[in-house]
């Protein structure tokens, strides 16, 4: 990265960076995790809705800061790990990378576009599932199945939900 590009990018990034109240960020994160562990009890199909991932992608895109994105992803991932029976760090590592890459993408594109959000939601869900599968096999030796068709369908559904969810979350931005 050259000095010119840094100088060129910095004002643009600051101009577009969105701010959120800390209570909103904490509340949204907890609700996303709670949704996974509670609502899926009554509607089992909703367990395939990866709200913690969608929230991680959203805040990383909006903050446009790779460091903030990866730290947020790590926190959400570790919280998810804590509520599962396997070792801490699996979701943590995956969501750290998702947060980092989402924030890196946001430095180059207009993340307010719904179509682009749809594509990003689809891509990051697929990336998340694939990376988790790779890590589970490589680090823990777990023989998990990776059904491409199922993951693609779920990625599409999650991406559609992401578009509407992100519009809702846009209203929680601090303006002014």
């Amino acid at each position: 990265m050259t000095g010119f590009s840094e100088d060129y990018r910095e004002p643009l990034r600051k101009e577009r960076t969105s701010m959120f109240n800390v209570a909103v960020i904490t509340g949204i994160s907890l609700l996303a995790i709670l949704f996974r562990v509670y609502v899926s009890r009554f509607v089992p199909y909703l367990q395939y809705l990866e709200l913690p991932l969608l929230v991680t992608v959203y805040f990383s895109l909006m903050w446009r800061s790779p460091i903030a994105g990866l730290l947020f992803g790590a926190a959400i991932g570790l919280a998810q790990d804590s509520l599962s029976h396997h070792e801490l760090g699996m979701f943590g590592i995956v969501k750290t990378l998702v947060g980092y890459f989402a924030a890196s993408v946001s430095l180059r594109v207009d993340v307010g576009n719904p179509l682009l959000r749809l594509v990003l939601g689809f891509f990051f869900f697929f990336f998340h599932q694939l990376l988790y599968w790779v890590l589970a096999r490589a680090l823990l030796g777990e023989a998990l199945d990776f059904e491409v068709t199922q993951v693609l369908v779920l990625a599409t559904l999650n991406a559609i939900v992401a578009v509407f969810l992100y519009q809702l979350l846009d209203r929680l931005k601090i303006t002014g």
Binding site: Y38, I67, L83, S84, G89, M90
Partner: protein
């Protein structure tokens, strides 16, 4: 170095975060340990919210059903459901006893022996992982719950406690792919290992050789071998059984989830029970009266099977070996003195002196 870190600050933080989590992961895998602090924080942050929402949901649900829909019936329904569960447990126990002994004695055994001590718990949340079948219950170490305790319903086994917090506990359900329990078949007493399949309602029995006999429709019960589930709890009914490469492929439907899974019992002190025999048919079967007890009370004396004269070659060889054994003070089946010389001529037996 400073230049590198400032120039690649984002990348440096990413590598540090990934490395830190890899070290954390490696530590847990290597030591089979747990980073309890992080789990306690996460569970402490999420489960109280889940409990509040669940309380609100069930409260609102009860309010509407109690006051607007079925005034008074709800309480009766709850009471009857509790009564039904209790009767089911009693019935299960009685069936077990009645099938192995006569009615009077099993009733006496039932009256004397106490069933497993259990603690009732309510499921408040699912686990996080889609691939994992686990739930959180609203009982923890404060209620005497410990990791490894069995979780059951009146219909059968439901899971086992994996992690315990002060007011909550994590339960791995029998449907999880990592769940295993020692089981035994009802008719043929074949031992095996029950494994979850990762989806609702079904499981697989492993480590049963092709030569062993399992019938379709046969029931599997806990064997008590795993030291988690008391012996004699129903696990499920065989739906499919076929020959495999080395072991039989046996699939069962689980009995523990028949009526949903909202409230469970945690076995705090387990009591083993015998496996019930196969269900009795309606056809009457004549049985002899039981043999009278030995008057002397000593060890039974073994009598030779052949009491008459030797008629076949086999009888004659057997008689010859018996005489060798007597003359050489050798007891067949014991290796202390070594085998006698079977080729030596048999000494003639001393004839009784005439008076």
């Amino acid at each position: 170095m400073e230049f590198f870190l400032s120039r690649y600050r984002n990348l440096s933080v990413l590598v540090a975060a990934i490395l830190a989590q890899l070290v954390l992961l490696a530590y847990q895998v290597r030591t089979h340990g747990d980073v309890r602090l992080i789990r306690v924080w996460a569970v402490g942050a999420v489960t109280p919210m889940a409990k509040v929402i669940e309380t609100g949901r069930s409260g609102a649900s009860h309010f509407f059903s109690d006051y607007f829909v079925l005034l008074g019936v709800r309480d009766e329904n709850k009471r009857m459901k509790a009564e039904l569960d209790r009767v089911k447990m009693e019935n299960q126990y009685l069936r077990t006893e009645l099938s192995t002994a006569d009615r009077a004695s099993s009733l006496a055994i039932f009256q004397k022996s106490s069933p497993s001590k259990t603690v009732a718990a309510h499921i408040i949340a699912n686990g996080n992982d889609v691939a994992t079948k686990e739930v959180f219950i609203d009982r923890g170490s404060n209620s005497g719950i410990a990791p490894g305790m069995a979780v059951i319903t009146p219909d059968g086994i439901a899971g086992k406690v994996t992690r315990v917090f002060s007011a909550y506990a994590q339960v791995l359900l029998v449907t999880d792919a990592n769940f295993a329990a020692g089981v035994i078949s009802q008719n043929n007493r074949v031992h095996g290992t029950f494994k979850g399949q990762g989806y609702e309602g079904a499981g697989k029995i492993e480590h049963v050789q092709n030569e062993q006999k399992i019938d379709q429709g046969e029931w599997f019960y806990t064997s008590g071998d795993d030291r988690i589930f008391p012996k004699g709890l129903p696990v499920g009914e065989v739906t499919t059984v076929r020959q495999g490469k080395a072991e039989k492929e046996i699939y069962i439907t689980l009995s523990g989830f028949r009526n949903g899974l909202e409230e469970v019992l945690i076995v705090v002190e387990g009591v083993h029970a015998p496996i019930p025999d196969a269900p009795l048919t309606d056809q009457a079967v004549h049985l002899l009266a039981p043999p009278p007890p030995d008057a002397a009370g000593g060890a039974p004396v073994l009598q030779p099977l052949q009491t008459g004269p030797a008629t076949t070659d086999a009888d004659r060889v057997k008689e010859r070996y018996r005489k060798f054994g007597e003359q050489n003070n050798h007891v067949y089946g014991e290796r202390s003195n070594g085998a006698p010389n079977y080729n030596a001529p048999v000494k003639p037996e001393a004839k009784p002196e005439k008076p």
